[in-house]
C-alpha cells in the first residue's frame, strides 16, 4: 500500500513528478505556487482534491500537482467537473481554465455551472490572448490588441469574465492578479472554502504573446492608482496615498477626491447583497489609460452569497439509493406484469 497522503501537507508534497513547462516568466508559475500553499492549509488529504482543465497553457495545471487531475478537451472542463462532482460530492474539485478555453468553447458550460451552483472552483486565468496556439485574439482581448489573427488590432468588444459570471447567477465572484501573491493566495483560499460555484478571474501575464497587458494593475509603481482592493464592509478607497474613493451617483459609480468628499459618502462594499447590482457595477469598472477620470479596476471578492450547491439539490430531489441494495425483482415489477404458465391460460396478475 502506498503511503496515504499524510496531513498536514506541505506545499512541496503537492508537486507532481512532471517538469513544469510554461515559458520562463509566465504568470502561471506564481499561480501554481500559491495554489500549492492554499491546498496545504485546507486540512484535506491530497486524494480528495481534483484539478480539471481544458486546453491552453492553463490546461497543463493538473499535471503539475500531485493530486487527482484530468486535462480534458477544449472548453469542456466545467462539464466534466460537473459530472465528477455528481459522482463524488465529497471531493474538492477545481477547474483551471483560461479566457480562450472557458469563455469561447466553454462559455455555455460556464454559465450553466454558475446558475446550478455546482460546487466547483473555477479559476479563469485571463491573459487576453490565446497563448498555447501562439498568439491570437481571445474573447477578452481588449479592442486594439495586435495579435496574429488581428494584426491591425482586435475590433470585437471583449467579454468581461466577472460580468459573465454574475449574469449567470454565480454565488462567489472574485478577481485577483498573478504577481500579488498574498492577495492571490487569500482569494484562492476563500474560493476553496466557498460552498457552491466559485469563480475567480486572475489577471495573468503572458509575457510571450501579450506582455504587460495588466502592468497597470500589477506593477507596484502604478497599481495603487489603478485598482481598488475591495473588502466587505469597508469603504472603497484607493490611490497610492489613499486619497481617492468611489462614490455611487445615481446609477453610476464615480471617482471622488477624499479631500473634497466626506468619508461617509464613499461606497461601502457589501459582498453579501442578495441582488448583485453592486457587484455588476464593480465588475464593469474599467481602467482607461491616459484618462485622468479613469475608474480603478476592482480586486477582491465582489460577491459571496449562500445558495444550496447543486449536489445538495440533486440529493434532495433525485439521488437513487445505494446500487448494491436495489431489489431488482421488485424493480422489474414496477410495471404491469403477468405470467405465462406452461400449457395453461395465462393468469391475470394485475395488482
Amino acid at each position: 500500500m502506498l503511503a496515504s497522503s499524510s496531513l498536514p501537507l506541505l506545499p512541496k508534497d503537492l508537486a507532481s513528478d512532471c517538469e513544469v513547462r510554461w515559458c520562463p516568466g509566465c504568470g502561471d508559475f506564481s499561480i501554481l505556487a500559491q495554489m500549492k500553499k492554499v491546498l496545504s492549509v485546507l486540512g484535506l488529504p491530497r486524494e480528495r482534491m481534483v484539478f480539471v482543465s481544458g486546453l491552453g497553457c492553463a490546461g497543463r495545471f493538473p499535471y503539475y500537482l500531485n493530486t487527482y487531475g484530468f486535462q480534458t478537451i477544449h472548453g469542456r472542463a466545467v462539464a466534466v467537473a460537473t459530472g465528477l462532482k455528481l459522482a463524488r460530492p465529497e471531493l474538492l474539485v477545481w477547474v483551471i481554465t483560461g479566457d480562450g478555453d472557458g469563455l469561447s468553447a466553454g462559455g455555455n458550460h460556464l454559465l450553466h455551472a454558475m446558475r446550478r451552483n455546482v460546487d466547483i472552483k473555477v479559476i479563469l486565468i485571463n491573459n487576453e490572448v490565446l497563448g498555447r496556439s501562439k498568439g491570437q485574439s481571445s474573447p477578452t482581448s481588449r479592442v486594439g490588441t495586435r495579435t496574429k489573427s488581428n494584426p491591425l488590432g482586435t475590433f470585437d468588444t471583449p467579454l468581461r469574465p466577472l460580468s459573465v459570471a454574475l449574469a449567470a447567477e454565480a454565488t462567489f465572484v472574485a478577481r485577483t492578479v498573478d504577481v500579488d501573491i498574498d492577495h492571490l493566495g487569500e482569494t484562492l483560499l476563500r474560493a476553496a472554502r466557498h460552498r457552491g460555484a466559485a469563480f475567480v478571474e486572475i489577471y495573468q501575464n503572458c509575457n510571450v504573446f501579450n506582455p504587460d497587458v495588466f502592468a497597470y494593475a500589477s506593477d507596484k509603481a502604478v497599481k495603487f492608482d489603478n485598482v481598488v482592493y475591495v473588502e466587505h464592509g469597508k469603504p472603497m478607497i484607493f490611490g497610492k496615498d489613499r486619497d481617492r474613493g468611489v462614490r455611487l451617483n445615481g446609477l453610476t459609480l464615480e471617482v471622488v477626491s477624499r479631500s473634497q468628499v466626506a468619508s461617509s459618502e464613499l461606497l461601502l462594499h457589501d459582498e453579501t447583497l442578495a441582488e448583485p447590482i453592486l457587484a455588476h457595477l464593480l465588475a464593469r469598472m474599467t481602467y482607461q489609460p491616459d484618462d485622468p477620470t479613469s475608474m480603478p479596476e476592482v480586486m477582491g471578492v465582489l460577491r459571496a452569497v449562500e445558495r444550496p450547491p447543486h449536489h445538495d439539490q440533486v440529493e434532495a430531489h433525485q439521488t437513487g439509493c445505494d446500487p448494491s441494495e436495489v431489489d431488482l425483482a421488485a424493480f422489474y415489477a414496477t410495471g404491469e406484469t403477468w405470467t405465462y404458465e406452461e400449457n395453461e391460460p395465462p393468469g391475470n396478475q394485475l395488482p
Binding site: 500500500m1 502506498l2 503511503a3 497522503s5 507532481s16 513528478d17 512532471c18 517538469e19 488529504p45 480539471v52 493538473p62 499535471y63 500531485n66 493530486t67 487527482y68 487531475g69 484530468f70 486535462q71 480534458t72 478537451i73 477544449h74 472548453g75 469542456r76 462539464a79 466534466v80 467537473a81 460537473t82 459530472g83 465528477l84 462532482k85 455528481l86 459522482a87 463524488r88 471531493l91 455555455n108 454559465l111 450553466h112 440533486v314 433525485q318 439521488t319 437513487g320 439509493c321 446500487p323 448494491s324 436495489v326 424493480f331 415489477a333 414496477t334 410495471g335 404491469e336 406484469t337 403477468w338 405470467t339 405465462y340 404458465e341 395465462p346 391475470n348 396478475q349 394485475l350 395488482p351
Partner: protein
C-alpha cells in the same frame, strides 16, 4: 343501451365465410386525432391481448406537429399493434385491421391496409367538415373507393354518447370516452377481456370514482355492442380472426418499450456493478424519452443530469466515469456528432462510457422521428485520430435490455466507450419482455483498484526516460507506485477513483506515455499506444458470442442485417426457405469488433445480401474487413424494410424474377 340498428347495407365488402380465420399474427392499426386517446386505447388492447396468451409488438406513430388542427392530416396519431404467437412478434408488411376514428385517419393509413383487410370506421366522424379537412371530395364510405376492403361502419361517437347519458357529462367529456367504447368493441372482436383495463382504470381514478364509472360504462357499452345482433351479423358476414396462442418460455412478463428496456437495463447495470448510475443527457427528440423514463426510475440506483447541450452531457458522463460511476449518455441523430470530441477523450483516457445513439434519418436534423441506420460508420470512425470504440446495436425493443446490459458490461470490464446504436422506431416500439431471473443476470466487474500496481525497477515497468516530461528522481528503486496505464493481460488499465489515497494520478487528452500515463510526444510511444488501444478493442471479440445463423449453415443466399431490421429479414428468410430455397439469415449484434466467426459464416454462402436502411454501410465494412463481396440492398425512406421487398430481391438474385419493387 339504445338499440342502434346496424343495417346490412352499411356493411360492405367481399363475401366472407363465417368461421373464424386462424392467424399466427395480426397487425392492427388504430388511428385518430391526437385527442382521441389512441395510444391509451392501443396500450390497453395490447395488454389485454397479452393476458390472453399472445405476444405483442406496438409502435406509436406520432403526429409530425405537436398541436395540429383537429381532424387535419398532420394531426393524425396512429398506433400499430401486432398480436402474435411468436416469441418475437413482428409487424407484417401491411395491416390486417384498421380502425379509423375520422376521415383524416382513414386517408393517412388506408394505404397500408392489406386488400381484403378489415376496416372499422366511426361513421359519426365522417362529417362534411372532417371530410374537407382530410381533403376528401367525396365521402369514401359512400363511393366505391373502399371496395377492396371489408368495411364495418360503426356509430362510435353517438352510441358512446348515448351510453353515457345517465352521467350528465359535458359533450367534450363524454366524447373523451369514445376511445374506451372503441376499446371495448375491439376487445370483443379480438377475444380479449376488458377486465384488465377496468382494473387499471379503477386504480388510475381511485380518487375520482365518477370518472371511473363513466369510463367503465363506455368500455362495457363497446364490448356489449360487439355482441349486439347487428354487429354479430355484420362480423359474421365480414369474417373474424382468431390468433394462435404464443409459444413462449413460461415465466413472468411485461411489455417494454425500447427506451424503457434501456432504462431498466441501466439501473440493472448499476446494481450488478455496484456503481451508481450517472445518466447525463440533453433532451433531443426521441432520446428525450429515455431521459423521462430514467427520471422516473432514478430513485432506484442513479441520478440523472439534464445537461445544457450534447457536449456537456457526454462531458458530465466522462467526469462521472472518472469519479468511479457508471457514466452514460444518450443522443439522437446529429447529437452523436457533437459528442465525438469527448468520446475521443474517453478513448485516450480509457474510461468506461456508454453512449446510446438513437439513429434517425439525416443528414443534419433530417427526419428526426424516422428510423434509419445511417450512423454505423460514424460510430466506428467519426472521431479524429485512430479512435477505436466498441459499437453494438439493439435489434428489437426488448433486446434493448440485453444489449444495454452488455454495453455496460463491456465498457466497465474493458475500460472503453461503447456506442450502442438504436433507432427512432425501436426506441418507441414496445414488445413483450420476459423478466429475467435475477440469478441469470451477469455480474458486471470493473478493474477497480485501491493499491499500487508496480514497483519501480521491476521487470516491465518502463523507465520514463522517453517522456517529454521527466520523471521525478525522488522515487527510489523498488518503491511501490501506481501506474495508471499499466495493463493486465487483456490490455486493460486499472480504474483508480479520485478519493483513493496514494493513487493520485493525472489523465488527459494528450498522448499518454505507456504505463506511466505521462504526457508524451515520443513518436514510437505514440505508435505503440495507437496499437495498444486498437488491439485492446479488437481482442474484445474473444469475449463475444459467435454470429449465429438462422437456416442452413451453408447455401445459396445469406441475408445479413443489423439493428432494427431483424424482423423482416428473419421472416423473409423463413418464407423463402419454406418455399424450398436455400436462404439463411444472420444478424450482427456487435459491429465493432465483429464476432470472430463472421468471415467464416459469410464465406459459406454463394451470395451475401446485406440489407440496411442506409446507403450500404455494413456492406462497405464487411467488404473492407474481409474482402468478401456483398450485394447491398438499401432503403432510405424512413420506413422499415418490408418482408416482400427482401423476398423479391432474393428471388431476383436466384434468377427467379427480374423485377424488384420497393
Amino acid at each position: 343501451m339504445a338499440e342502434r340498428p346496424l343495417l346490412r347495407e352499411q356493411t360492405t365488402g367481399p363475401q366472407q365465410t363465417t368461421s373464424p380465420e386462424m392467424r399466427s399474427s395480426l397487425t392492427i392499426r388504430l388511428a385518430g386525432d391526437a385527442g382521441d386517446s389512441i395510444q391509451l386505447m392501443g396500450q390497453r388492447l395490447a395488454h389485454s391481448a397479452a393476458l390472453q396468451g399472445h405476444t405483442i409488438y406496438t409502435l406509436p406513430d406520432f403526429p409530425s406537429e405537436i398541436r395540429a388542427p383537429v381532424g387535419s392530416l398532420p394531426g393524425v396519431f396512429g398506433y400499430l399493434i401486432v398480436i402474435d404467437s411468436d416469441a418475437a412478434p413482428i409487424p407484417g408488411d401491411g395491416t390486417d385491421v384498421l380502425l379509423a376514428m375520422n376521415p383524416a385517419a382513414l386517408k393517412v393509413h388506408l394505404a397500408e391496409l392489406m386488400p381484403g383487410g378489415l376496416l372499422l370506421v366511426d361513421r359519426d366522424a365522417f362529417t362534411i367538415d372532417n371530410l374537407l379537412s382530410a381533403g376528401y371530395l367525396s365521402d369514401p364510405l359512400n363511393d366505391a373507393s373502399l371496395a377492396d376492403y371489408r368495411v364495418c361502419k360503426v356509430a362510435i361517437t353517438s352510441t358512446s354518447r348515448e351510453a353515457l347519458e345517465p352521467f350528465k357529462l359535458f359533450r367534450a367529456e363524454a366524447d373523451r370516452c369514445k376511445s374506451l367504447f372503441a376499446l371495448g368493441l375491439l376487445c370483443r372482436l379480438f377475444d380479449c377481456s376488458p377486465q384488465p383495463t377496468m382494473g387499471w382504470l379503477s386504480a388510475k381514478f381511485a380518487k375520482k370514482p365518477e370518472v371511473f364509472q363513466a369510463n367503465q360504462r363506455a368500455i362495457e357499452a363497446g364490448y356489449r355492442y360487439g355482441d349486439s345482433s347487428e354487429m354479430v351479423s355484420a362480423i359474421a358476414l365480414l369474417g373474424r380472426y382468431r390468433i394462435a396462442r404464443a409459444r413462449v418460455v413460461p415465466g413472468r412478463y411485461r411489455q417494454v418499450s425500447g427506451h424503457e428496456a434501456i432504462a431498466l437495463a441501466l439501473i440493472t447495470a448499476a446494481t450488478r456493478s455496484r456503481r451508481r448510475l450517472v445518466y447525463a443527457a440533453h433532451p433531443l427528440p426521441t432520446a428525450g424519452e429515455l431521459l423521462h423514463r430514467l427520471a422516473e426510475l432514478q430513485r432506484w440506483a442513479g441520478c440523472i443530469f439534464q445537461a445544457e447541450d450534447e457536449a456537456a452531457a457526454v462531458g458530465a458522463a466522462v467526469g462521472a466515469a472518472f469519479g468511479g460511476c457508471l457514466g452514460v449518455t444518450a443522443s439522437s441523430g446529429n447529437g452523436l456528432v457533437r459528442k465525438s470530441d469527448a468520446i475521443g477523450l474517453a478513448v485516450i483516457t480509457e474510461l468506461p462510457l456508454v453512449v446510446v445513439a438513437v439513429q434517425h434519418a439525416g443528414p443534419s436534423v433530417g427526419l428526426s422521428t424516422k428510423p434509419e441506420q445511417s450512423d454505423l460508420l460514424l460510430s466506428l470512425f467519426g472521431r479524429n485520430g485512430e479512435c477505436p470504440t466498441v459499437v453494438m446495436a439493439v435489434s428489437s425493443p426488448a433486446d434493448g435490455f440485453t444489449m444495454t446490459l452488455e454495453a455496460c458490461r463491456i465498457a466497465l470490464k474493458y475500460m472503453t466507450p461503447v456506442i450502442l446504436l438504436t433507432d427512432a422506431s425501436l426506441i418507441h416500439a414496445a414488445e413483450t419482455w420476459r423478466i429475467p431471473e435475477i440469478s441469470t443476470l451477469p455480474r458486471l466487474d470493473a478493474p477497480l483498484t485501491t493499491g499500487p500496481n508496480s514497483s519501480v525497477g521491476e521487470q516491465g515497468v518502463s523507465t520514463p526516460r522517453s517522456s517529454s516530461l521527466t520523471f521525478s528522481p525522488t522515487i527510489a528503486q523498488g518503491e511501490s507506485v501506481f501506474l495508471p496505464y499499466r495493463r493486465d493481460q487483456r490490455l486493460v488499465r486499472s480504474w483508480a477513483v479520485p478519493g483513493t489515497p496514494g493513487l493520485e494520478h493525472r489523465l488527459g487528452g494528450l498522448e499518454k506515455e505507456d504505463e506511466t500515463g505521462h504526457v508524451s510526444y515520443d513518436p514510437r510511444n505514440h505508435e505503440r499506444m495507437v496499437g495498444l488501444r486498437a488491439t485492446k478493442i479488437a481482442r474484445i471479440a474473444d469475449d463475444l458470442p459467435p454470429l449465429e445463423v438462422n437456416g442452413p449453415t451453408q447455401g445459396d443466399v445469406l441475408l445479413v442485417g443489423w439493428g432494427g431490421t431483424i424482423g423482416p429479414l428473419r421472416l423473409a428468410a423463413d418464407r423463402l426457405r419454406s418455399r424450398g430455397f436455400s436462404v439463411a439469415h444472420a444478424h450482427l449484434r456487435y459491429l465493432n469488433p465483429l464476432p470472430t466467426n463472421t468471415p467464416d459464416v459469410l464465406r459459406r454462402y454463394r451470395t451475401v445480401l446485406v440489407a440496411e436502411l442506409n446507403q450500404g454501410q455494413l456492406a462497405w465494412l464487411l467488404r473492407g474487413a474481409f474482402l468478401i463481396d456483398c450485394i447491398s440492398f438499401i432503403k432510405m425512406q424512413g420506413k422499415p424494410l418490408s418482408i416482400r421487398e427482401i423476398e423479391q430481391q432474393v428471388e431476383q438474385l436466384l434468377g427467379l424474377s427480374t423485377q424488384v419493387t420497393g
